[in-house]
Amino acid sequence: MSDKNFVSFSKPFIDALKDTFEMMVQTTLKAHSPKIKEGSVAKGDITAMIGMNGTVEKEGKEKEFKGLLAISWPEELYVKLASRMLFEEYTEYCDDISDSGAEICNIIMGNAKNGLSPLGYKIEMASPSTIRGKQHEIRYPPKTTVIEIIISCDLGDFTLELCYQEHA
């Protein structure tokens, strides 16, 4: 994927992330410059992710694609953001907040899907999932380049990851 294509593909995800955090976590986000991720180890302790596949129409040709959206948080930050989202005070990770990250991914993907529609993308969303643990690995679709973007907010920094691969 060219830099220009990546910018147009990633923008709806970043916009949706910002909107979601502004409305549901009551904070504004700053997205830092994207860079290519090396390896598959998550930057955070808790990673929520959601797969996608579908078709994209470019220059009159339809291509299939697959990808993944992942958001990885340090555990302390995750607990704080879940507390704000749920209007309850949590001091540690527990079952009550175990699917908060997955729900965030779900919302972002749903909104990004709409943002990508005018660009020719037709996306099928998978169900979101969550991995927790130090130095856990993320299983990306094979042969995909992973782009990571550090996101800052008043609660701290976390990482948005996007990977995408077109195939004939």
């Binding site: 909107d19 979601t20 502004e22 409305m23 549901m24 879940a82 989202m85 749920l86 209007f87 309850e88 009550d96 907040i97 175990s98 699917d99 908060s100 997955a102 729900e103 779900n106 919302i107 993907m109 749903g110 909104n111 899907k113 709409n114 529609s117």
Partner: protein, 131 residues
């Protein structure tokens, strides 16, 4: 009929986080009689049983995408039953697709809210259902 926070409300979503968010937003609006279901199928059973017991639900807030019975199918079940023709129903969805809105309106939805949303938006949507 203005919104009465004393109403018996059922919140339906397969994600526990979203059920909590909606319930806590409604709590902040003064609602106390809040119940929840994790899919459209148990929700439909609860709605019928509550009506038969004489303590019916007065307002339903439901997610669209759920694994067993979707919010749309729950809405269709409700509207196809004479007892629930006018039961207020707020649909929650992650996708702002125009097609979805049209389908839900045709099925008799009372109002529609797209995730993400704030408590202010939630209140505005409810106020439009209960002017």
């Amino acid at each position: 009929m203005a919104f009465n926070p004393k109403q018996k409300i059922l919140v339906v979503d397969d994600m526990s986080t979203m059920r909590k968010i909606i319930k806590n937003m409604l709590s902040k609006m003064g609602c106390k009689d809040l119940h929840e279901a994790d899919d459209g199928a148990p929700a439909w059973k609860m709605i019928q049983e509550a009506h038969e017991a004489g303590i019916p639900y007065e307002f339903i807030v439901s997610d669209w995408n759920m694994p067993q019975l979707t919010g749309l199918d729950l809405l269709k079940n409700i509207r196809s039953d004479e007892r629930f023709k006018t039961l207020p129903f707020l649909m929650v969805t992650a996708e702002a697709e125009q097609a979805n809105v049209v389908i839900a309106v045709k099925a008799g939805v009372s109002n529609f809210i797209v995730k993400p949303f704030s408590i202010v938006t939630m209140k505005e949507k409810i106020d439009k259902i209960f002017p």
